[in-house]
């Protein structure tokens, strides 16, 4: 019962203030470690995203990003190591190739380009990770809910 209740109340609040739902793919070695580093340095940043850890940013397929958008995500951030830092050498270069294909599709679908971003965060850049999240959440909030947001979301 409790989940029903809270999801209804959540519905009400979401009417007033739009809180975006954002999926962040973080690579285990750099971005995920950067997020941990932000934690260790107690950097406070917006909670409006959920992290999925993959071993490398190259692991994120266009299918995964498109699935997130199809299910109503308002924004998707793929983050990996700075070029040259990748634990698997060129994983992040592959991420760029995948990103370009996905971005073209997103544009053709009519979704605003700002909803999908690819960023590099190193294991030592806790503060930068926090900033990046706040900036991205702010941007997506400005863009408002994704057109796929309510029609596809199964209750």
């Amino acid at each position: 019962m409790s989940t029903k209740l809270s999801s209804i109340t959540k519905k009400k609040t979401s009417e007033k203030k739009f809180t975006p739902r954002i999926v962040v793919f973080a690579c285990n070695w750099c971005s995920y470690a950067g997020a941990d580093n932000a934690g260790v340095s107690r950097i406070q940043y917006s909670p409006n995203f959920r992290i999925i850890r993959t071993m490398c940013s190259g692991r994120v397929t266009p299918g995964m990003v498109l699935k997130a958008f199809k299910l109503g995500a308002d924004g998707v951030l793929v983050s990996g190591c700075h070029l040259g830092d990748c634990h698997y050498i060129f994983g992040n270069h592959r991420a760029i190739e995948n990103f370009e294909r996905t971005q073209a599709i997103i544009k053709t679908l009519g979704l605003e380009e700002g909803r999908l971003r690819l960023e590099w965060v190193s294991a030592a850049e806790g503060p930068r990770f926090g900033q990046l999240i706040d900036e991205f959440v702010g941007e997506v909030t400005k863009l408002g809910p994704s057109p796929l947001n309510n029609s596809n979301r199964r209750k």
């Binding site: 397929t61 498109l66 679908l109 029609s151």
Partner: protein, 379 residues
């Protein structure tokens, strides 16, 4: 009578004599011994859709209709497969999506009513199109294929659309190109996902009505089949007629002045154009009209043409590759320089099968769409 018996009856599966002719012609069974249409039919009869539903091979059937055409008991096998898939999907099963489902998710996103696509960026000044009118050029998924495959298979799927418009303009037609055309839903229909198929159909029909469309021309046989046959089946009579571009060209060959293309070509009959829409002659007429092009017919062509090996972006595997390689070798075998296809998907699948990361090509043959070939011959 439960639903399984209903669709077994509808598709005349009970009439099956287990003679095995279907398995003999099935391209999948040829390479993947574990798949046999005959055995699927008898399992359907004895064990019902529960048994075949959970078998992943259910999604390997190409629905290419070769088996249905040769079946002495007139079993509509492809439709039987489709109905079984509807039930399997209800039980939570689905095939292995290729490209980790990217294409499926694109198609499903276009089913969202609030989506405002930007899919006409490819129309350049020299191509005349309009927003409303009687003749619509149905682009299909080409813009998305352009985004997804152009770099990977180093060819430009959107050129098929550009060449089509060039040909239509040449015939004095300024076709409507819809800003918000949706995926036709063919793959959902054949994968048993009727819910998304209906959503897409409704959106498209509304767009056609708004634009006042009377005739729809398309370069994609799957689109043609869906608009011409599948929509009416679901929504009753439709207010438009459908032509595959090859038909239109064939009727107006006299209006074209063509340059010479000195090359030996052969034709891959798309299953949907041939066995589903019975359009065999038009493409051949078009090709023979191109001066200098020596047309060579493959042994397995027309009704007996071999499918291009992958359908609805599902269960693509080593056996699909073997079908595609086998077909490419057959095309090379008849001495063709160019394998002409009339369906964007056939071209994509053949190019993928022929791509060799090291030295470019496995089999030394060009692959080109009929429309682009014809457009390149325009004087």
């Amino acid at each position: 009578m439960d639903t399984t018996t209903a669709y077994l009856k509808k598709n005349r599966v009970f009439n099956c004599l287990e003679c095995g002719k279907c398995t003999a012609v099935c391209p999948i069974s040829r390479f993947n011994g574990t798949y046999s249409p005959r055995r699927f039919a008898s399992r359907g009869i004895f064990y019902g859709s529960g048994d075949i539903g959970k078998d992943n091979l259910l999604w390997s059937c190409l629905t290419c209709k070769q088996c249905s055409l040769v079946c002495p008991a007139n079993v509509n096998y492809s439709e039987f497969m489709r109905d079984a898939r509807v039930e399997a999907r209800a039980m939570g099963f689905s095939g292995n999506p290729s490209h980790s489902g990217a294409l499926h998710y694109i198609m499903e996103m276009t089913a969202s009513p609030d989506l405002k696509q930007q899919r006409t960026g490819w129309i350049t000044e020299d191509l005349k199109t309009c927003k409303e009118g009687e003749i619509l050029f149905f682009v299909g998924c080409l813009p998305y294929y352009q985004d997804f495959f152009s770099k990977d298979l180093d060819f430009s799927p959107i050129d098929i659309a550009k060449d089509s418009i060039k040909i239509l303009n040449h015939l004095g037609i300024v076709p409507v190109v819809l800003e918000d055309e949706r995926c036709c839903g063919h793959d959902f229909y054949w994968s048993g996902d009727l819910e998304n198929f209906m959503k897409l159909a409704e959106l498209n029909l509304k767009e056609f009505e708004k634009a006042g469309v009377k005739t729809i021309v398309t370069a994609c046989p799957e689109g043609a089949l869906t608009l011409k046959k599948l929509y009416p089946e679901q929504f009753g009579a439709v207010s438009y007629s459908v032509l595959h571009l090859s038909e239109l060209i064939a009727e107006n060959l006299d209006k074209f002045k063509l340059n010479e293309i000195k090359s030996r070509i052969t034709f891959q009959d798309p299953c949907r154009l041939g066995r589903y829409l019975d359009i065999y002659e038009a493409p051949r007429k078009v090709m023979s009209a191109i001066p200098g092009a020596q047309f060579r017919e493959m042994q397995r062509s027309g009704k007996k043409a071999v499918c291009c090996g992958t359908s609805a972006w599902t269960n693509c595997d080593s056996y699909s590759k073997q079908i595609q390689s086998w077909r490419l070798k057959e095309a090379k075998g008849v001495g063709a320089d160019i394998l002409v296809t009339a369906c964007p998907k056939c071209q994509i699948h053949f190019r993928c099968a022929n791509k060799n990361e090291e030295n470019g090509k496995n089999i030394d043959i060009e692959i080109q769409d009929l429309v682009s070939l014809f457009a390149s011959a325009l004087a």
